[in-house]
Protein backbone atom coordinates (compact mmCIF):
# COMPACT_ATOMS: atom_id res chain seq x y z
CA UNK A 1 0.00 0.00 0.00
CA UNK A 2 1.13 3.54 -0.71
CA UNK A 3 0.46 4.62 2.86
CA UNK A 4 2.60 1.80 4.20
CA UNK A 5 5.46 2.72 1.90
CA UNK A 6 5.20 6.29 3.05
CA UNK A 7 5.33 5.14 6.66
CA UNK A 8 8.45 3.10 6.09
CA UNK A 9 10.29 5.49 3.83
CA UNK A 10 9.49 8.76 5.59
CA UNK A 11 9.98 8.39 9.34
CA UNK A 12 8.54 11.13 11.52
CA UNK A 13 10.81 13.82 12.81
CA UNK A 14 10.19 15.63 16.08
CA UNK A 15 8.62 18.59 14.37
CA UNK A 16 6.02 16.55 12.51
CA UNK A 17 5.39 14.42 15.59
CA UNK A 18 4.70 17.54 17.64
CA UNK A 19 2.44 18.94 14.94
CA UNK A 20 0.40 15.75 14.89
CA UNK A 21 0.15 15.72 18.67
CA UNK A 22 -0.98 19.36 18.56
CA UNK A 23 -3.74 18.43 16.17
CA UNK A 24 -4.84 14.94 17.17
CA UNK A 25 -3.80 14.71 20.80
CA UNK A 26 -1.96 11.94 22.56
CA UNK A 27 -4.00 8.94 21.39
CA UNK A 28 -2.18 7.57 18.38
CA UNK A 29 -5.28 5.76 17.08
CA UNK A 30 -6.67 9.19 16.11
CA UNK A 31 -3.59 10.05 14.07
CA UNK A 32 -3.52 9.62 10.29
CA UNK A 33 -3.27 5.89 9.65
CA UNK A 34 -0.37 6.36 7.25
CA UNK A 35 1.73 7.90 10.02
CA UNK A 36 0.75 5.77 12.98
CA UNK A 37 3.48 3.17 12.61
CA UNK A 38 6.22 5.78 12.46
CA UNK A 39 4.56 7.67 15.30
CA UNK A 40 4.65 4.58 17.50
CA UNK A 41 8.38 4.31 16.95
CA UNK A 42 8.97 7.96 17.74
CA UNK A 43 6.68 7.78 20.78
CA UNK A 44 9.22 5.48 22.43
CA UNK A 45 11.86 8.21 22.45
CA UNK A 46 12.24 10.66 25.33
CA UNK A 47 11.22 13.52 23.09
CA UNK A 48 8.19 11.63 21.86
CA UNK A 49 7.11 10.73 25.39
CA UNK A 50 7.39 14.37 26.49
CA UNK A 51 5.30 15.61 23.56
CA UNK A 52 2.59 13.02 24.17
CA UNK A 53 2.52 13.77 27.89
CA UNK A 54 1.80 17.42 27.16
CA UNK A 55 -1.05 16.53 24.79
CA UNK A 56 -2.42 13.95 27.21
CA UNK A 57 -3.14 16.59 29.85
CA UNK A 58 -5.65 18.32 27.57
CA UNK A 59 -7.06 14.97 26.42
CA UNK A 60 -7.74 13.98 30.00
CA UNK A 61 -9.67 17.18 30.63
CA UNK A 62 -11.64 16.92 27.40
CA UNK A 63 -12.53 13.38 28.36
CA UNK A 64 -14.43 14.66 31.38
CA UNK A 65 -17.14 16.06 29.15
CA UNK A 66 -19.90 13.55 28.69
CA UNK A 67 -23.34 13.82 27.13
CA UNK A 68 -26.37 12.20 28.66
CA UNK A 69 -27.89 9.30 26.78
CA UNK A 70 -30.98 10.12 24.72
CA UNK A 71 -34.20 9.97 26.69
CA UNK A 72 -36.78 7.30 25.87
CA UNK A 73 -39.16 10.13 25.01
CA UNK A 74 -36.83 11.49 22.34
CA UNK A 75 -36.14 8.01 21.01
CA UNK A 76 -39.89 7.30 20.82
CA UNK A 77 -40.70 10.60 19.11
CA UNK A 78 -38.10 9.99 16.40
CA UNK A 79 -39.25 6.43 15.77
CA UNK A 80 -42.91 7.50 15.69
CA UNK A 81 -42.22 10.02 12.95
CA UNK A 82 -40.34 7.56 10.77
CA UNK A 83 -43.37 5.69 9.42
CA UNK A 84 -45.12 8.87 8.30
CA UNK A 85 -42.05 10.42 6.70
CA UNK A 86 -40.99 7.29 4.84
CA UNK A 87 -44.53 6.71 3.56
CA UNK A 88 -44.91 10.32 2.39
CA UNK A 89 -41.54 10.27 0.68
CA UNK A 90 -42.35 7.05 -1.15
CA UNK A 91 -45.68 8.55 -2.28
CA UNK A 92 -43.87 11.69 -3.42
CA UNK A 93 -41.40 9.63 -5.37
CA UNK A 94 -44.26 7.64 -6.92
CA UNK A 95 -45.94 10.83 -8.14
CA UNK A 96 -42.70 12.23 -9.51
CA UNK A 97 -42.17 8.95 -11.30
CA UNK A 98 -45.65 9.29 -12.78
CA UNK A 99 -44.96 12.85 -13.88
CA UNK A 100 -41.70 11.70 -15.35
CA UNK A 101 -43.33 8.94 -17.37
CA UNK A 102 -46.03 11.33 -18.56
CA UNK A 103 -43.33 13.78 -19.57
CA UNK A 104 -41.48 11.10 -21.49
CA UNK A 105 -44.70 10.13 -23.27
CA UNK A 106 -45.46 13.73 -24.17
CA UNK A 107 -41.92 14.27 -25.39
CA UNK A 108 -42.26 11.15 -27.55
CA UNK A 109 -45.50 12.40 -29.07
CA UNK A 110 -43.95 15.78 -29.86
CA UNK A 111 -40.88 14.14 -31.36
CA UNK A 112 -43.06 11.85 -33.48
CA UNK A 113 -45.10 14.77 -34.78
CA UNK A 114 -41.93 16.69 -35.58
CA UNK A 115 -40.52 13.69 -37.42
CA UNK A 116 -43.65 13.29 -39.50
CA UNK A 117 -43.55 16.99 -40.33
CA UNK A 118 -39.96 16.80 -41.51
CA UNK A 119 -40.32 13.58 -43.48
CA UNK A 120 -43.60 14.43 -45.19
CA UNK A 121 -44.35 18.15 -44.84
CA UNK A 122 -47.19 18.17 -47.49
CA UNK A 123 -49.48 16.12 -45.31
CA UNK A 124 -50.33 18.95 -42.98
CA UNK A 125 -49.60 21.92 -45.28
CA UNK A 126 -52.13 24.72 -44.79
CA UNK A 127 -51.50 26.26 -48.18
CA UNK A 128 -51.27 24.91 -51.67
CA UNK A 129 -49.85 26.03 -54.98
CA UNK A 130 -52.49 27.18 -57.35
CA UNK A 131 -51.80 27.36 -60.97
CA UNK A 132 -53.78 29.96 -62.89
CA UNK A 133 -54.53 27.29 -65.40
CA UNK A 134 -55.51 24.67 -62.94
CA UNK A 135 -59.05 23.46 -62.77
CA UNK A 136 -60.87 20.94 -60.71
CA UNK A 137 -60.01 18.47 -63.38
CA UNK A 138 -56.31 19.25 -63.62
CA UNK A 139 -53.79 21.63 -65.15
CA UNK A 140 -55.18 23.21 -68.33
CA UNK A 141 -52.06 25.18 -69.36
CA UNK A 142 -48.59 23.78 -68.69
CA UNK A 143 -46.78 26.94 -69.81
CA UNK A 144 -48.47 29.24 -67.29
CA UNK A 145 -46.52 30.68 -64.28
CA UNK A 146 -47.79 29.28 -61.07
CA UNK A 147 -48.21 31.39 -57.97
CA UNK A 148 -48.91 30.50 -54.45
CA UNK A 149 -52.03 31.54 -52.69
CA UNK A 150 -52.21 31.34 -48.98
CA UNK A 151 -55.54 30.37 -47.54
Amino acid sequence: MADERKTVEVPLDARRFAALADAYGSALHRWPPAEQAAAMLFAKTDEGRAILAGAARLDAILGRHSVEAPSPTLHGAIVARAATEVRQERRRRFWWLGFGLAGVGLAGAVAGLALVTVVNPDIQSDHYAMDTNATSFGDAGPEADPYEEDL
Partner: protein
Protein backbone atom coordinates in the same frame (compact mmCIF):
# COMPACT_ATOMS: atom_id res chain seq x y z
CA UNK B 1 -18.60 -4.18 8.87
CA UNK B 2 -20.49 -1.31 10.44
CA UNK B 3 -20.46 0.90 7.37
CA UNK B 4 -22.08 -1.78 5.25
CA UNK B 5 -24.66 -2.39 7.93
CA UNK B 6 -25.58 1.29 7.94
CA UNK B 7 -26.31 1.21 4.25
CA UNK B 8 -28.26 -2.02 4.58
CA UNK B 9 -30.35 -0.48 7.36
CA UNK B 10 -31.08 2.55 5.22
CA UNK B 11 -32.21 0.31 2.38
CA UNK B 12 -34.55 -1.57 4.71
CA UNK B 13 -35.91 1.66 6.16
CA UNK B 14 -36.75 2.74 2.63
CA UNK B 15 -38.96 -0.31 2.28
CA UNK B 16 -40.83 0.55 5.49
CA UNK B 17 -39.04 -1.92 7.78
CA UNK B 18 -39.93 -0.87 11.35
CA UNK B 19 -37.19 -2.98 12.92
CA UNK B 20 -34.60 -1.22 10.79
CA UNK B 21 -35.93 2.13 12.01
CA UNK B 22 -35.51 1.03 15.62
CA UNK B 23 -32.01 -0.23 14.93
CA UNK B 24 -30.98 2.96 13.18
CA UNK B 25 -32.26 5.17 15.99
CA UNK B 26 -30.59 3.02 18.62
CA UNK B 27 -27.30 3.16 16.74
CA UNK B 28 -27.18 6.76 15.57
CA UNK B 29 -29.22 8.83 18.01
CA UNK B 30 -26.57 8.86 20.76
CA UNK B 31 -23.94 10.00 18.25
CA UNK B 32 -26.11 12.68 16.69
CA UNK B 33 -27.25 13.96 20.06
CA UNK B 34 -23.70 14.08 21.39
CA UNK B 35 -22.52 15.93 18.30
CA UNK B 36 -25.29 18.51 18.51
CA UNK B 37 -24.94 18.96 22.25
CA UNK B 38 -21.25 19.71 21.98
CA UNK B 39 -21.68 21.96 18.98
CA UNK B 40 -24.55 23.96 20.48
CA UNK B 41 -23.96 23.68 24.22
CA UNK B 42 -27.70 23.43 24.70
CA UNK B 43 -29.46 20.14 25.41
CA UNK B 44 -32.91 21.23 24.22
CA UNK B 45 -31.61 22.60 20.93
CA UNK B 46 -29.51 19.50 20.48
CA UNK B 47 -32.63 17.33 20.81
CA UNK B 48 -34.36 19.44 18.14
CA UNK B 49 -31.37 18.99 15.83
CA UNK B 50 -31.38 15.24 16.46
CA UNK B 51 -35.06 15.03 15.54
CA UNK B 52 -34.57 17.09 12.38
CA UNK B 53 -31.57 14.98 11.39
CA UNK B 54 -33.64 11.81 11.60
CA UNK B 55 -36.47 13.36 9.62
CA UNK B 56 -33.94 13.90 6.82
CA UNK B 57 -32.76 10.32 7.18
CA UNK B 58 -36.31 9.02 6.85
CA UNK B 59 -36.97 11.24 3.84
CA UNK B 60 -33.82 10.13 2.04
CA UNK B 61 -34.02 6.46 2.96
CA UNK B 62 -36.03 5.30 -0.03
CA UNK B 63 -33.74 7.08 -2.46
CA UNK B 64 -30.42 6.73 -0.67
CA UNK B 65 -27.49 6.13 -2.99
CA UNK B 66 -23.99 5.91 -1.65
CA UNK B 67 -21.81 8.51 -3.28
CA UNK B 68 -18.39 9.49 -2.11
CA UNK B 69 -19.36 9.71 1.55
CA UNK B 70 -20.24 6.93 3.94
CA UNK B 71 -23.69 7.10 5.48
CA UNK B 72 -22.27 7.98 8.91
CA UNK B 73 -20.31 10.85 7.41
CA UNK B 74 -23.43 12.04 5.60
CA UNK B 75 -25.38 12.04 8.87
CA UNK B 76 -22.68 14.11 10.50
CA UNK B 77 -22.83 16.60 7.64
CA UNK B 78 -26.61 16.88 7.95
CA UNK B 79 -26.48 17.34 11.71
CA UNK B 80 -23.68 19.89 11.44
CA UNK B 81 -25.62 21.91 8.87
CA UNK B 82 -28.58 21.99 11.21
CA UNK B 83 -26.31 23.07 14.05
CA UNK B 84 -24.89 25.88 11.93
CA UNK B 85 -28.39 27.03 11.06
CA UNK B 86 -29.02 27.46 14.74
CA UNK B 87 -25.68 29.06 15.43
CA UNK B 88 -26.35 31.57 12.65
CA UNK B 89 -29.73 32.34 14.16
CA UNK B 90 -27.95 33.12 17.39
CA UNK B 91 -25.84 35.54 15.39
CA UNK B 92 -22.63 34.04 16.66
CA UNK B 93 -21.09 35.54 13.58
CA UNK B 94 -22.32 37.97 10.99
CA UNK B 95 -19.93 37.42 8.11
CA UNK B 96 -18.53 34.47 6.25
CA UNK B 97 -15.27 35.04 8.00
CA UNK B 98 -14.93 32.59 10.84
CA UNK B 99 -14.37 34.39 14.09
CA UNK B 100 -11.21 33.94 16.04
CA UNK B 101 -11.42 33.07 19.68
CA UNK B 102 -12.76 36.06 21.55
CA UNK B 103 -11.43 35.16 24.94
CA UNK B 104 -8.82 32.58 25.79
CA UNK B 105 -8.56 33.54 29.43
CA UNK B 106 -8.38 30.52 31.69
CA UNK B 107 -11.75 29.43 32.98
CA UNK B 108 -12.29 29.31 36.72
CA UNK B 109 -11.45 26.05 38.40
CA UNK B 110 -14.32 23.61 38.37
CA UNK B 111 -15.95 22.36 41.50
CA UNK B 112 -15.57 18.61 41.96
CA UNK B 113 -17.98 16.87 39.64
CA UNK B 114 -18.40 19.96 37.50
CA UNK B 115 -15.43 19.53 35.17
CA UNK B 116 -17.65 18.56 32.28
CA UNK B 117 -19.47 21.86 32.43
CA UNK B 118 -16.14 23.69 32.36
CA UNK B 119 -15.14 21.81 29.23
CA UNK B 120 -18.52 22.58 27.66
CA UNK B 121 -18.02 26.29 28.35
CA UNK B 122 -14.56 26.17 26.83
CA UNK B 123 -15.84 24.42 23.72
CA UNK B 124 -18.45 27.14 23.26
CA UNK B 125 -15.78 29.82 23.47
CA UNK B 126 -13.66 28.61 20.58
CA UNK B 127 -14.44 29.26 16.93
CA UNK B 128 -17.24 27.03 15.63
CA UNK B 129 -15.10 25.48 12.90
CA UNK B 130 -12.39 24.63 15.43
CA UNK B 131 -15.04 23.22 17.76
CA UNK B 132 -16.48 21.19 14.89
CA UNK B 133 -13.07 19.72 14.08
CA UNK B 134 -12.39 18.77 17.68
CA UNK B 135 -15.85 17.31 18.22
CA UNK B 136 -15.62 15.20 15.06
CA UNK B 137 -12.13 13.84 15.65
CA UNK B 138 -11.96 13.70 19.43
CA UNK B 139 -15.51 12.93 20.53
CA UNK B 140 -17.14 11.38 17.46
CA UNK B 141 -13.99 9.39 16.68
CA UNK B 142 -14.12 10.07 12.96
CA UNK B 143 -10.88 9.47 11.09
CA UNK B 144 -9.07 12.51 9.75
CA UNK B 145 -10.32 11.74 6.25
CA UNK B 146 -13.92 11.27 7.38
CA UNK B 147 -13.84 14.44 9.47
CA UNK B 148 -12.35 16.43 6.62
CA UNK B 149 -15.04 15.03 4.33
CA UNK B 150 -17.82 15.92 6.75
CA UNK B 151 -16.38 19.43 7.08
CA UNK B 152 -15.72 19.68 3.34
CA UNK B 153 -12.14 20.79 3.89
CA UNK B 154 -8.75 19.28 3.15
CA UNK B 155 -6.96 17.15 5.72
CA UNK B 156 -4.35 19.90 6.07
CA UNK B 157 -7.08 22.43 6.84
CA UNK B 158 -8.59 20.02 9.34
CA UNK B 159 -5.24 19.65 11.10
CA UNK B 160 -4.87 23.40 11.25
CA UNK B 161 -8.33 23.80 12.78
CA UNK B 162 -7.63 21.02 15.27
CA UNK B 163 -4.31 22.49 16.33
CA UNK B 164 -5.69 25.99 16.75
CA UNK B 165 -8.70 24.70 18.63
CA UNK B 166 -6.63 22.58 20.95
CA UNK B 167 -4.26 25.45 21.64
CA UNK B 168 -7.19 27.65 22.65
CA UNK B 169 -8.65 24.93 24.84
CA UNK B 170 -5.24 24.34 26.34
CA UNK B 171 -5.02 28.01 27.31
CA UNK B 172 -8.47 27.93 28.88
CA UNK B 173 -8.42 24.54 30.53
CA UNK B 174 -4.87 23.47 31.18
CA UNK B 175 -3.30 26.81 31.96
CA UNK B 176 -4.25 26.49 35.58
CA UNK B 177 -4.52 22.74 35.68
CA UNK B 178 -0.96 21.74 36.28
CA UNK B 179 -1.81 19.10 38.83
CA UNK B 180 -3.61 16.95 36.32
Amino acid sequence: MGADTDEELVRRIGTGDAAAVQAMVARKLPRVLALATRMLGDAAEAEDVAQETFVRIWRHASGWRQGHARFDTWIHRVALNLCYDRLRRRREWTTDELPEVADEAPLPDAMPGDEGRRVSQALQRIAPRQREAIVLVYYQELSNIEAASAMQVSVDALESLLARGRRSLQAMLVGDDGDD
